[in-house]
Symmetry: C2
Subunit: 379 residues, 2 copies
């Protein structure tokens, strides 16, 4: 019940277990169904861009507890291709106008919002109101206010909410978290995290358009660096300072090209992150008092690699991170497993994103972060 705010708690109590059944009620099938009785949950992908096409849809073929059950697209031509590729019925195909009708489709349990950032909040809230559990791609939204609105909508509809943080379900990330928790390499002292790639092609793509993206590198790969800085430290940061670097203003017309940021942690650790749309970087290294460990590559689709100061080579069988991520969320819904990337985590990262942009505007001034007070303890 992570998403339930104090305000909504009494109402939720009143609904109890029966709410789940009501949630699944379908005038089409004429009989209420409960997601909790299903063995596999239906996922509708909202937005059929590259990530849905080349990552999420193939991943859904590998999942154990979910399957592709619907598509939402604004591009008519994509409908036929996807229906043919994945054997979807007409009743599982929506556009942005009739999207809200998905409330009546019992084959869809989860709506995965894979749209440009500026549309995350709107479609996440509409999905919640349609009674669907929500996965919203990272970054969670354009700003903290939108994160709050999404969380409130999900709480009000008693649906579960997760952010598309695929790395949280990756076994290498989980090994990093164990190293940190168990102090295998001593107390964490320094984390170095780079998540960056060279952006090419159309300078008008949505990621480079602030109105659609909310920001450049930081709003794209940057959130992975924020994430790995935090799970590398094992706790939320208490301050951040940041710098912006620009070398191609003609191409990066209104979004950030390269950003570096430094985090301070209460346990004494310091982290430095770099994110860029004009530099290649894909690595996290954690320096402990007794040694170090590194993931490299650290933030890509995998296989991830890793090794440690004592010569240990980290090696896990490669599975689609997105398949693991969607299965983890399905298990959260079906069996009460932990939510690996709850809305609070996405909101925490957006608080940090806002602080980073503020630090840059204020000439690099360190920004205090009051994340502990907000109860955002999950790292």
């Amino acid at each position: 019940m992570k998403n339930v705010t104090r305000r909504d708690f009494a109402a939720t109590l009143g609904k109890g277990a029966a709410a789940v059944t009501i949630l699944g009620a379908s005038p089409l099938l004429g009989a209420p169904i409960s997601a909790q009785n299903k063995k596999s949950l239906g996922v509708a992908l909202v937005g059929l861009g590259s990530y849905s096409t080349h990552q999420l849809a193939p991943a859904l073929e590998e999942t154990q507890f979910c399957h592709l059950a619907g598509i939402v697209t604004g591009t008519k031509e994509k409908e036929a291709v996807w229906k043919r590729s994945y054997g979807l019925p007409d009743s599982s195909v929506y556009n942005y106008e009739n999207f809200d009708d998905i409330a009546n489709n019992d084959s869809v349990d989860i709506v995965y919002v894979v749209l440009p950032n500026s549309m995350h909040a709107d479609f996440s809230i509409r999905a919640a109101r349609a009674g669907k559990h929500v996965i919203v791609e990272k970054p969670m939204a354009m700003n903290v206010a939108e994160c709050n609105a999404i969380m409130e909508a999900c709480a009000a509809s008693d649906v579960r909410l997760s952010v598309g943080y695929r790395m949280q379900s990756d076994p290498y990330t989980q090994q990093v978290k164990r190293f940190v928790r168990d102090k295998t390499y001593g107390e964490v002292q320094f984390i170095n995290s780079d998540a960056a790639y060279i952006s090419r092609g159309n300078p008008d793509q949505w990621r480079l358009n602030r109105a659609l993206s909310g920001g450049g590198a930081l709003m794209n790969m940057g959130v992975y660096s924020i994430q790995s800085s935090i799970y590398g430290a094992g706790e939320n940061p208490i301050s951040v300072s940041a710098q912006e670097f620009s070398t191609r203003p003609d191409y990066f017309k209104d979004t950030d090209e390269t950003i570096t940021a430094q985090f301070e942690f209460e346990n004494g650790a310091v982290a430095h992150m770099m994110t860029s749309h004009n530099i290649s970087g894909n690595r996290m290294k954690v320096h402990g008092s007794k040694g170090w460990f590194v993931l490299e590559p650290a933030h890509s689709y995998g296989p991830i690699g890793g090794h440690t100061s004592d010569g240990t080579v980290l090696k896990y069988p490669h599975k689609s991170q997105m398949a693991l991520q969607m299965d983890d969320f399905a298990q959260h819904i079906l069996a009460g497993a932990p939510n690996m990337a709850p809305g609070e985590m996405g909101k925490r990262d957006m608080i940090i994103v806002e602080a980073i942009y503020r630090s840059i505007r204020e000439g690099g001034k360190r920004q205090q972060l009051d994340l502990a007070e907000m109860g955002l303890v999950r790292v």
Copy 2:
């Protein structure tokens, strides 16, 4: 003639080649000698702490073009030990009071100042006035003004000046410079450099005493990170911003514990460095547009290690960096080989050190650096 200022140039011209002979004139031997006619130059170590004892003196046994010819120490007991160990005559042993008499010792060609930072300028200037070539340990001095004074004294006495930047003579560093110059891995985009170790023992040691050190981690390992950021980029930076982190103020009473800094280069590269007296870190990585290369360890006494994105493992036979460094300087004096670490380089780094401390005082504000204007082009 790198050290000759415009002001001194006419005077130097007037002295010409004969100046070298005059420089070596010795009332003790009764006959003028020229360092240029020697095959091996005599080095006097000023300050017999750990670095002289465990690094420089052993290195002098490996050099081809220098040898230990004198010691200067304030500790009476060390005199007998060193005389016995290295077969030094009484006439080659000095203390801080009679140091200036070294002018009369023709067996000493080079004075290597290995004292606490606060004594660098005084003894470098006195060595120059004694007609000796000077190596001054890094950091060159307490501040830029002292660097200028050292350079002026050396120019006035027509002696050569070098900073104890052992890494400049290391074959791995030279390979890095070739990679950068030849664009083997494309245009340099990002450099990540860590030079840090965990300081232990007496909190009153001179490195942790600002009056003697001028600063903490930054004035110690930090200058190596500045150096590798610069040769990683292949040019001098145009701006720097910096942050300080403190977790053990009881131990680090008046010197910096951990500093991070970001450099901006005209070629578009960005560098991030971390230095600390409370974190382990020893690495430089250069991300180019076509790949990357890394030195790890990068800043220690060796063997240095390195590898690249195309699987190349860098491997050079291990030689004492200090032996290579002192031989390079001897070859500069004897044969006109390039000065690998001239005073200008030490001064440049001190300009950057001052800018880093200023950025920290100003809350992380980016500091512009006008190094190009100052003619400090050597990287």
